[in-house]
């Protein structure tokens, strides 16, 4: 519905259910006699009666002119609002109207009341009634006898779990979480290469169960995933069990209640679970990446439902993964990584950094296959107790010590060596070969305070040949 035009002169918005509005009725009579005054009433067409009012029955005037308090007095010139005052303050009204002696005998001031158009019970419905036209998506009617959750399963729009029905009310509310316009194009989503708008991101965010304040994170995740560097098409088409892993950092993770502590990589936290899920629903429903179609994973992984967690960058003794990729401390950011499900790494006896480094390196060497090197990256999520054992080593030192322990003579890696056909091509090298490229091993700090464990998130084919991790600052 389009914005109604206001008549020139003074416009006042009132409601009967407001004592201040009742108090100022004599003032309105004075103004009606002396000026061009138009009165809009929100709740009772007979109020104030004298002067007569226009009934703003659908609250269209109140909603479009963002009336928060009644009475609100507006000056209109050539159909445009030029100024406004609200509540009752004699001096303000006299100055505003240029008329002295308003409301003699009334108290000099009285605060206004909440406008009916901002009543919490009505505001969502009003947003749809008057603001719904900003939404461009096709409307789908659900029959009375139809269960909308079952209907969305039937249409193939879910990841196997129920989704929240994306009603206009819910989508408009989700859009309040971002300053970006609903029709702005965010990215081109693989594999079908479909342009996605902020509105379509909001629809998937609703379905996933997000709150509006998660929107900047979901939008940033979509941008980080949908580009040639990250290669989401490859992640889908591969037979390996990989998913976009979202590692979030910065104060904003705490502001939206993300979990970086106990069970950080697990279930039970709304932000962790739904931000990653919204991204996957977008890849499925907008990009067309569905299992058995372009998604050819041999086994898949529960990580493909949602794999999103926060680093505890505030307490990390060795900075953040985002920092490893050049993001300044304190800046909210997401790193997307083509990763498999996490696997635990146990060492409960090491009490020196050297011993623990030996342990971590030995487990990293066998990732995917101990004879396959340089093809895959990894994120090592170090828990607080292991970090304490590594105390005194900063990020560069930890990485240096691990890389140093992760080289193997090429002859031991060759196809056929150790009686194992798998391995690097015979004659590929005569040197010692590192397990990882220099930037192929990444560190994150997360997890609960008890437990001498870390976790490896193994990667997929790396670099130009496959996927590169992408780090993006969160855009609000």
């Amino acid at each position: 519905m389009s914005k109604p035009k206001l008549p020139d002169g003074f416009v006042v918005v009132v409601k009967r259910d407001c004592e201040t509005c009742q108090t100022v009725v004599p003032v309105l009579q004075q103004l009606a006699a002396a000026t061009d005054l138009t009165v809009y009433t929100q709740d009772d067409p007979d109020f104030p009666g004298d002067p007569a009012a226009i009934y703003d029955a659908d609250l269209s005037v109140s909603w479009h002119y963002e009336i928060e308090t009644v009475p609100t007095l507006i000056r209109v010139v050539e159909g445009e609002q030029v100024d406004r005052t609200f509540g009752w303050l004699r001096t303000a009204w006299e100055e505003f109207t240029g008329i002295d002696g308003l409301g003699e005998g009334l108290p000099p001031m009285r605060p206004g009341c909440g406008s009916k158009s901002v009543d919490p019970d009505l505001v969502d419905e009003l947003n749809v009634r008057h603001g719904g036209s900003v939404l461009r998506s096709r409307r789908i009617e659900v029959a009375d006898a139809e269960d909308e959750i079952e209907m969305m399963f039937t249409r193939g729009w879910t990841d196997g779990l129920p989704v929240v029905p994306p009603t206009e009310q819910r989508v408009l509310k989700m859009l309040t979480g971002t300053s970006r316009a609903p029709d702005e194009i965010v990215a081109t989503v693989p594999p079908d290469l479909v342009d996605i708008t902020v509105e379509k991101v909001a629809i998937s965010a609703v379905m996933a169960g997000c709150l509006p304040e998660y929107m900047p994170w979901v939008l940033t995740a979509v941008e980080a995933v949908c580009n040639d560097e990250f290669n989401m098409h490859g992640l889908l088409a591969t037979t390996m069990p990989v998913a976009p892993v979202l590692v979030c950092s910065g104060h904003g993770t705490r502001a939206i209640g993300m979990n970086s502590g106990i069970n950080a990589l697990g279930q039970g936290n709304r932000a962790n679970s739904t931000i990653g899920r919204a991204l996957q629903l977008i890849v499925r429903n907008v990009g067309g990446g569905r299992p058995g179609e372009v998604d050819r994973a041999a086994h898949g992984s529960p990580a493909k439902l949602s794999f999103c967690f926060a680093e505890n960058d505030a307490e990390s003794p060795f900075g953040s993964l985002a920092g490893q990729h050049g993001i300044e401390p304190g800046v909210d950011a997401i790193t997307v990584f083509a990763g498999e499900g996490p696997r635990g790494l146990v060492d409960q006896l090491s009490r020196t950094p050297e011993s623990l480094a030996n342990s971590l390196a030995a487990q990293l060497q066998v990732m995917h296959h101990h004879k396959l090197v340089l093809s895959f990256d990894a994120i090592l999520v170090i828990g607080p107790e292991h970090a304490r054992v590594l105390a005194g080593w900063d990020r560069d030192r930890i990485l240096f010590e691990l890389h140093m322990r992760l080289t193997t003579p090429a002859a031991e890696l060759e196809r056929g060596a150790d009686g194992i056909a798998e391995g690097i091509p015979v004659g590929m090298s005569t040197a010692d070969l590192p397990k990882f490229h220099p930037d192929g091993l990444m560190l994150a700090y997360a997890g609960g305070g008890a437990g001498l464990f870390s976790t490896i998130i193994p990667g997929w084919v790396n670099g130009e040949m496959g996927s590169k991790p992408v780090t993006r600052q969160v855009r609000y």
Binding site: R138, M152, V189, V194, I203, N285, V286, W460, V461, G466
Partner: protein, 93 residues
């Protein structure tokens, strides 16, 4: 009860359906492209296919994707489409 309305979560694409070319009755005299997707041992499979196709009088051209992990570059797809009558893609391992 009022009718409930939800918003379409899909990309709302309009699909263009294109009919496949008719399958040729014989390959003799046709140009057959063999696309290696860069998976290990794909070349072994395609070498044998090339040998068999040559024996029946097909003209074979070989192509290779830079990496199996990404879609074939558009230039490569165009090259194959303009130079060949038929293409065979080798998925290997």
């Amino acid at each position: 009860m009022s009718t409930r309305t939800i918003l379409d979560p899909t990309g709302e694409r309009t699909l263009t359906e294109r009919a496949r070319l008719a399958r040729p009755a014989a390959l003799e005299g046709l140009t057959v492209g063999l696309l290696d997707i860069s998976k290990p041992r794909g070349d072994i499979f395609l070498n044998r296919i090339e040998q068999r196709l040559s024996e029946i009088g097909a003209n074979v051209k070989r192509y290779k994707k830079p990496t199996f992990a990404k879609p074939a570059p558009v230039d490569l797809r165009h090259e194959i489409a303009t130079e060949c009558h038929v293409v065979i893609e080798a998925l290997a391992d």
